[in-house]
């Protein structure tokens, strides 16, 4: 009965659609609209500047620096966090004493709020703080740096904190993926004389592929929108050395009251995230999702 079906669709989809339109689509549209004005947030939109806000943003070295910082975080995440998380996941998947406890410990930072994480690390990293004293105690005093005050180092310091915070999530995902790989495959390979590294390389990693690809996607999007930890720990400083697109946007929009300009930055951030998501879905995730969709239709 198609009539009844339509009614049900309207009843169940209608409210969600209205909410989605009002709180997701409309604000996105409004951002595009505000971005064409010079507007301090008070009073009517009168000063139409067209695409000038975009031009100014893309010419501002501070904003271009922020984009570069986001890109560095993405590259570091994919090249350093992935092997680290994979290694730890394989380790935690093995039969060893206190495995449950170790898993909890590794996952704990992910459960902490960003604010608490930021404050803890601020204390650890302050000059002569825990990090410095630990290094000195083990005879590595020469490695002590101004972790957050040195413009050359601060972004990498932040990457370490970000890794500490989010690696638990990657490990849990990979652990779940590892559980799904039938043990028989590895056993069969070993019977055929395959070494452990070969089993890992030719069985574990390929079968973990879909999980890794999904994690990489979430990691890229998270890196593009990175905000909380940076804002709490450095406010994007010193002198913009750790700013990201999101901290730049909040700074210009809410600290400087340039809501039109801030909206333009938000639109650029949205377009970059959206473009990267679409490209990733089409180029990398296609075979994973295509399989699922085909099965569902069939």
């Amino acid at each position: 009965m198609p009539g009844r079906k339509h009614a049900e669709l309207a009843l169940f989809v209608g409210p969600a659609l209205v909410v989605y339109s009002m709180f997701v689509l409309l604000p996105i549209g409004l951002a595009f609209w505000y971005a064409m004005y010079r507007w301090n947030g008070i009073g009517p939109l009168t000063d139409f500047v067209g695409l000038d806000n975009y031009r100014r943003a893309l010419q501002d070295p501070a904003f271009l620096g922020s984009i570069r910082h986001n890109a560095i975080i993405i590259v570091l995440s994919l090249t350093l966090q992935l092997p680290l998380a994979l290694g730890l996941a394989v380790l935690l998947n093995a039969r060893l004493r206190g495995r449950a406890l170790l898993r909890t410990v590794v996952f704990a930072p992910f459960v902490l709020s960003e604010v608490i994480t930021g404050v803890i690390w601020l204390l650890i990293l302050q000059p002569d703080g825990l990090a410095d004293r630990t290094l000195q105690a083990v005879g590595l005093g020469g490695l002590v740096q101004l972790w957050l005050a040195d413009r050359e180092i601060v972004l990498y310091t932040m990457f370490v904190v970000i890794t500490w915070k989010y690696i638990g999530f990657a490990i849990i995902l990979f652990l779940a993926g590892l559980q799904g790989i039938p043990r028989e495959l590895a056993e069969a390979a070993e019977v055929d004389g395959a070494s452990k590294p070969r089993v890992f390389r030719h069985i574990t990693v390929p079968l973990l592929g879909p999980t890794i690809r999904v994690w990489a996607f979430l990691s890229i999007i998270g890196s593009l929108q990175l905000f909380d930890l940076i804002w709490i720990m450095t406010l994007g400083g010193p002198a913009n050395a750790s700013s990201t697109m999101a901290t730049y946007m909040v700074d210009r929009g809410f600290r400087r009251y340039q809501f039109g300009y801030g909206s333009a930055v938000a639109v650029i951030l949205f377009l970059i995230s959206f473009g990267v998501s679409l490209a990733y879905q089409r180029l990398v995730l296609r075979r994973d999702t295509a399989g699922a969709l085909t099965r569902m239709a069939g």
Partner: protein, 435 residues
């Protein structure tokens, strides 16, 4: 069947929309009196202030209660908001048709923007009989000579210092000139004080205090005052201010890693370093003893804390007794009834201001309320404030927000070695041009 379906579909959508509207509605429909209406007509005013913690919170509530006692027709709904929320909530509320009647107001460029948009009431006539008792600070709540806000507290920035460390370094009297200050830094360093001056550069505005004050000493009052309206920074005094900032930075007076130090959070903050004897002085506002108190192990203001004004600069066009400062006030929004300004008059009456001063959470402005300030350092500070030839509001507040914050960012970049004196002036000029 199709007709029924269509009706069904419409009904379902309508139900959804109705639910949503019900969820979004619920605003108050209390009528507000039109200005000039019957003064005895019952009115309700909402009041947004930033004292979310005691003793400020109960003090404001008691003021509202006392006013209601005297004017039974006026109901005041007091709503404390976190300080940080104002920057986002005020613009949105003023855009709407239901703004708060009385709200926190820091004056300067932000007030000018609100006035330009027609969102704030002109209080000039209503406050004329009594505004004179509030001292020179009221200038900051004026736009083009008209009064748009009433201050209730105002403090100035100066050096807070550790007397025993100064003594240890053999510094007899607090530095009176900029050269004295640099000399004191050297003496403190020779005496083994690792951080002669503590600074919270992470927050940027503490950096700006130095630049602002040096500009105030080097630029004439006229140049200073006009800069907030014509945004002309061609006078060489602005670059000279940056040159002197560089002189100070080059003397390396600050603590290790100062670029990442916050101003107020934790014992490692600049206030914490001064409070715990790790630094000898800090250029900071009148609130510093209160902040330091919360950062010491015994929660007491450290003994031997002193205050001296920003030193004089020889050859500068500014007065050595001019002061940099800022304060808090309240404005009446465009929707507020006439009772609003009457209430503000009550709020800044000498008695209420004395009570405010006794709470030790800010410096009252009303003439005659100074007696309530008991702390000897703050007494000296209030004296300097009251005798100042000119009071300049922090430039980031005095200027339009976009220009003021761009200035702070540029100064912070100079402290990080990323901009020179001319670069800071260029940055503020370009921010003013695209304002």
């Amino acid at each position: 069947m199709t007709a029924l379906t269509r009706r069904w579909r419409a009904a379902a959508l309508l139900a959804g929309v109705a639910l949503l509207l019900a969820a979004c509605g619920g605003g108050s429909d209390t009528p507000t009196a039109e200005p000039g209406g019957d003064p005895n007509q019952p009115v309700t005013m909402t009041w947004w202030h930033n004292a979310t913690a005691d003793p400020g919170k109960s003090y404001y509530q008691s003021i509202a209660d006392a006013y209601r006692q005297a004017h039974p027709n006026v109901t005041i709904e007091v709503q404390p908001l976190q300080n940080e929320q104002f920057s986002t909530k005020i613009p949105v509320a003023l855009q709407s048709n239901d703004p708060p009647d009385i709200f926190q107001q820091w004056g300067g460029g932000q007030l000018a923007d609100q006035v330009a948009a027609g969102k704030v009431q002109d209080l000039t006539e209503a406050s004329r009989p009594w505004i004179g008792t509030l001292g020179p600070a009221v200038n900051n709540w004026q736009v083009d000579g008209r009064q748009y806000g009433i201050p209730y507290t105002f403090g100035i920035v100066g050096f807070w210092y550790n007397k025993s460390l100064f003594q240890k370094a053999g510094i007899g009297a607090p530095p009176a000139t900029f050269e004295d200050l640099l000399g004191a830094v050297q003496k403190l360093k020779s005496a083994g004080v690792a951080a002669p001056i503590a600074i919270g550069s992470k927050d940027k505005w503490p950096d700006a205090f130095y630049w602002d004050y040096l500009a105030l000493r080097l630029c004439s009052q006229d140049v200073m005052q006009r800069s907030a309206t014509d945004y002309n920074f061609d006078d060489p005094c602005w670059t000279r201010a940056g040159d002197m900032v560089k002189q100070l930075i080059d003397a390396q007076p600050f603590q290790k890693g100062f670029l990442a130090t916050p101003a107020q959070q934790g014992a490692g903050s600049s206030a914490g370093l001064l409070a715990n004897g790790k630094a000898a002085m800090e250029l900071m506002g009148h609130w510093n003893p209160g902040v330091m108190q919360s950062l010491t192990p015994d929660k007491k203001v450290p003994d031997g804390l002193g205050w001296f004004p920003f030193p004089a600069v020889s050859g500068g066009a500014g007065n050595p007794d001019a002061a940099l400062g800022g304060g808090d006030g309240f404005s009446c929004s465009f929707k507020a009834p006439p009772a609003c300004v009457d209430f503000l008059k009550f709020l800044v009456s000498v008695d209420n201001q004395k009570r405010f001063g006794e709470l030790n959470i800010g410096l009252p402005v009303a003439e005659g309320s100074e007696t309530a300030v008991a702390d000897p350092n703050l007494k000296g500070l209030v004296e300097f404030r009251n005798q100042a030839s000119y009071i300049q509001t922090y430039l980031d507040v005095a200027y339009a927000t976009s220009v003021g914050q761009a200035l702070n960012d540029a100064i912070a970049q100079q402290f990080a070695g990323q901009l020179d004196a001319a670069g800071v002036v260029e940055a503020v000029k370009s921010a003013a041009a695209s304002r």
